[in-house]
Symmetry: C2
Subunit: 344 residues, 2 copies
């Protein structure tokens, strides 16, 4: 076994672990394994359940533990993954440790495909991790193949608000300039006028617009694309983790059927279409079981608010295990389209 | 959601975690998830790779971390698993913490099916964990539905050597008397005479005899059974973990096809037949890839003994991910048979 040859089916995922429920590595690993990936799993925390329950126990691991795991892999010549995924990391020093590991894996394998999901906050809650992670994530961008921020994270990485098509393009361009080959902003809020301009459909129902672009090879302008899909009502945890995992798992790893068919606008857009299809299928299954459960919760209400919150969270755990077939064979209902207009 | 109703498809697995490779929870979780189990996963260690590599990094978790995870689950009403599996635990105090958790889960669910794999040692190496775990595992027996010791572990739990059919029966009986409903001794070494007496076939090729029995309901004698199957040459890690997981995952959880067919001598024997079939399929796939790899290792030999050991271990990692179909649909080639004679 040549020591420096990357293993084509090996993927490293660095995220949180919960004993019960599906966020972080628990949301990413099984679906990636179903697609045939030998997933190496570094857990950045071990909690009983995700923090949305309000009550949880467990440990956040520090950078010395995480670094030692990378060191153990390196000493054994096991840092030969062809792909890498990172999600929630509990401190700036852990993000820094992962950054150093990405540098080393890239030395072994310059072709490493690294997807960085820069988990920092969202539009509703703002920043929910230590703000010191921001400069570390900015440094990470130069090693990043695919970045999957939400609108809030894209804005703070680019240090610019998205209020229009020109500012959206400017944010995409900034992330490319900082180093990301492919940018997927997982949810962008646009005015009805701008929705029409890019070629999407204004709707009275809540809908999500995912926007993506790849770094142009020369001085040609960006060719952004979008996928519009209906928002599944309710709050779910682990959705972004599942989307990121499925995007990385499917990128340039398409079925023969995909290649034969005239698929999508770009390879990364095709991966995103498949990932959206998986997420939508899992959410549909989750919501169905949730509706049945919330009925029960209401009927059996104990008047204990904390327990009611727990029961609600429990019902909203993604039905990942039950969606095996949909993960293996997603049906794409929402397709990527290039922006119709890119001028404001 | 009634707080005390166990969830029929939920299974808790308490074992080790390695970042890369397939032992402990890494060997058990994906196969159980493929069978549809919502697996709650408590990791007792986080190592870069298994210790057989000679070099590894990481942490063994202490009983306070493991107990806090159980506490977090309990506070949220999440200790409602219908099944539980335990494997390697890094210290007697962790085994004690798990014992206390099993007691609490049994209070919620007296029907809990708990498989205890009492990882302590083997015939080749003797005891390889702190000997203080032995009394704790003995206390665990009264909560145990299924126990899967190897010959060494069965002998020390029963405090009797297996040298004949009567001593084998005496060991089985001792484990039942101490509390285990079903005993599976995963490998028993018998003389050719005894092999013939139980109804197995002496062979010049190395073969394994797995022996099982269920606690008789009254004073009726034990009806032990065996499965004889060829030994796959070479040393593999995580095989026992895979066997235990598949036995628990399939027990009383058979397909409609199984129920229609006149299957096996007892339900636990049927589960063991299916588990053996999975293990044999995974080992066959592993050995095929290993043979190819060892060829390469020999050719590219660097003269570094430590690295050669690592390369050998790497090649012997179970091909679990690649055996998805065989795990879902195992073909039983080796069937359980009742002992022909139970007298010495």
């Amino acid at each position: 076994m040549a020591a420096n040859v990357p293993e084509p089916s090996r993927l490293l995922s660095v995220q949180s672990h919960v004993v019960s429920g599906y966020v972080g590595n628990r949301s990413a690993t099984f679906p990636l394994q179903l697609l045939g990936w030998d997933v190496d799993v570094i857990n950045t925390v071990q909690f009983s359940n995700h923090t949305g329950y309000g009550r949880w126990k467990g440990l956040r691991f520090d950078d010395s533990h995480i670094s030692s795991l990378f060191q153990g892999l390196e000493e054994n010549g096991l840092l030969k993954q062809s792909r890498m995924l990172s999600g929630y990391m509990p401190s700036p020093s852990v993000v820094q440790a992962v950054l150093e590991a990405v540098e080393r894996i890239r030395e072994v394998n310059p072709e490493l495909i690294y997807l960085c999901d820069p988990v920092m906050g969202d539009m509703g809650r703002g920043m929910y991790v230590d703000k010191e992670v921001l400069p570390v994530y900015r440094s990470m961008l130069r090693y990043t193949t695919i970045i999957t921020p939400n609108q809030f994270e894209a804005q703070i990485l680019a240090d610019e608000e998205i209020t229009s098509i020109p500012s959206l393009l400017s944010v995409l361009q900034s992330l490319h300039t900082q180093g990301a080959n492919h940018v997927l902003i997982t949810s962008v809020s646009l005015s009805d006028t701008d929705i029409l301009k890019i070629g999407a459909t204004p709707s009275s129902e809540p809908s999500m617009v995912l926007v993506g672009s790849s770094r142009p090879s020369t001085d040609t302008p960006l060719k952004p694309w979008f996928i519009q899909f209906p928002e599944v009502r309710g709050y779910f945890s682990g959705v972004g983790d599942l989307f990121a995992a499925m995007t990385l798992g499917r990128f340039q790893n398409l079925t023969a059927q995909d290649v034969e068919a005239e698929t999508s606008v770009t390879p990364i857009a095709r991966a995103a279409e498949l990932a959206v299809a998986v997420v939508q299928a899992v959410l549909a299954k989750t919501q169905k079981s949730m509706d049945a459960l919330e009925q029960e919760v209401t009927e059996g209400s104990s008047g204990d608010d904390a327990q009611a919150r727990v029961d609600r969270m429990r019902g909203r755990e993604l039905k990942i295990i039950q969606s095996k077939r949909e993960i293996e064979n997603p049906e794409v209902a929402y397709q990527a389209k290039f922006f119709k207009e890119t001028s404001g």
